[in-house]
């Protein structure tokens, strides 16, 4: 839908200003989009393959655990794991990319995960927990990466919508409205000019007629 505006000089100036602003905004947003893409690509190159390798490790961890489970009695296993001796805490710091806040996770494990007696448990359990404890920090790192990618992807999508809206909708509409007003103003100007010329011609003709009458009157000898 085109912008409706009165064809006045004031409106023209106003619309021109808006068009200039829209162009500047468009340029800025486009630059932002480029930078976001660059950051996104960096993140992506770090991320690629991380999930696959993690999932493979996780699978071995699960397998170890199933072995551990099979080698123990059900009750002693759940007894052994009932009260975890380790505490996993994640400290979250943040990192700014453009206008976005991305989380950076750092995991710290305190205490020993081997918090059970040697008597009731098997070495398989120890081993499987060791594998688990290697996997966990990677899970947390993956969490941070995926989060960052998700946030950035959302922002890129939003920014691109804005850029496109400016480029294909708002700016063309403004340009069109400005052109329409220009045409109308020019037409009015020409109309005015011809009207003036016409008026001038008419007054001249009238004056000539009056002069002719006067001259004729002066030429005739008076009969008074």
């Amino acid at each position: 839908m085109a912008i409706q505006a009165r064809a006045t000089r004031m409106e023209l100036l106003h619309l021109r200003k808006r068009a200039a602003l829209a162009r500047r905004g468009h340029k800025l947003l486009k630059d932002k989009l480029d930078e976001l893409m660059r950051q996104f690509k960096i993140l992506l190159s770090e991320y690629l393959g991380a999930r696959q390798s993690l999932e493979a490790k996780l699978e071995t961890a699960y397998r170890e655990f199933i072995f551990a489970r099979a080698s123990m009695r059900e009750e002693s296993l759940s007894d052994a794991l009932r009260y975890p001796g380790a505490v996993a805490t994640v400290t979250t710091s943040t990192r700014r990319v453009m206008n976005l806040t991305l989380p950076v996770f750092d995991i710290a494990m305190t205490g020993s995960y081997i918090n059970y007696g040697m008597f009731d448990t098997t070495p398989e359990l120890d081993r499987s927990l060791e594998v688990y404890s290697e996997v966990l920090p990677e899970v947390v790192r993956l969490a941070g990466q995926e989060k960052a990618i998700g946030i950035l992807a959302g922002e890129i999508d939003r920014t691109r919508r804005r850029v496109n809206a400016l480029e294909y909708i708002l700016i063309p509409e403004l340009v069109e409205a400005v052109a329409a007003i220009r045409l109308k103003l020019d037409e009015m100007e020409r109309g005015n000019l011809t009207r003036l010329m016409k008026v001038k011609k008419m007054t001249e003709q009238r004056r000539e007629a009056a002069d002719a009458v006067l001259k004729a009157a002066a030429g005739r000898p008076s009969t008074g």
Binding site: L44, Y62, G85, P103
Partner: protein, 108 residues
């Protein structure tokens, strides 16, 4: 910055081993319960919430609700049953939406 916890929502077999490491293990008996526990974990300030693949559908709404916030981060991992590739799919969809090109196609 403030420390948060790691939580794992999944079935008993998957979660048990992580529990020994101090990860908060949540074993929901049914999908509604999973959604409720998820919301509780979010409001309790968990930094990282690991969700087992099979529960993703049930938690879709909850996961989407936090996807624009910096924390918590949600990771979708396969359970003991093996991978169905849903975790990778989720992130891949996001990339596709952002770039318009499937950048991960070559390593699929």
């Amino acid at each position: 910055m403030k420390p948060g916890s790691v939580a794992f929502i999944g079935d008993a077999d998957t979660v048990l081993g992580f529990r020994a490491l101090g990860v908060e293990a949540v074993v929901p008996p049914d999908p509604e319960d999973a959604a409720r526990s998820f919301r509780e974990l979010v409001s309790a300030g968990s930094s990282v919430i690991i969700v087992e693949e099979d529960l993703v559908e049930a938690l879709r709404g909850e996961i989407d609700a936090v996807s624009n916030r910096p924390v918590p981060a949600v990771v979708i991992l396969p359970g003991v049953g093996g991978s169905r590739g849903r975790g990778g799919d989720t992130i891949r969809r996001q990339i596709l939406k952002a770039v318009g090109v499937d950048l991960m196609a070559e390593d699929a």
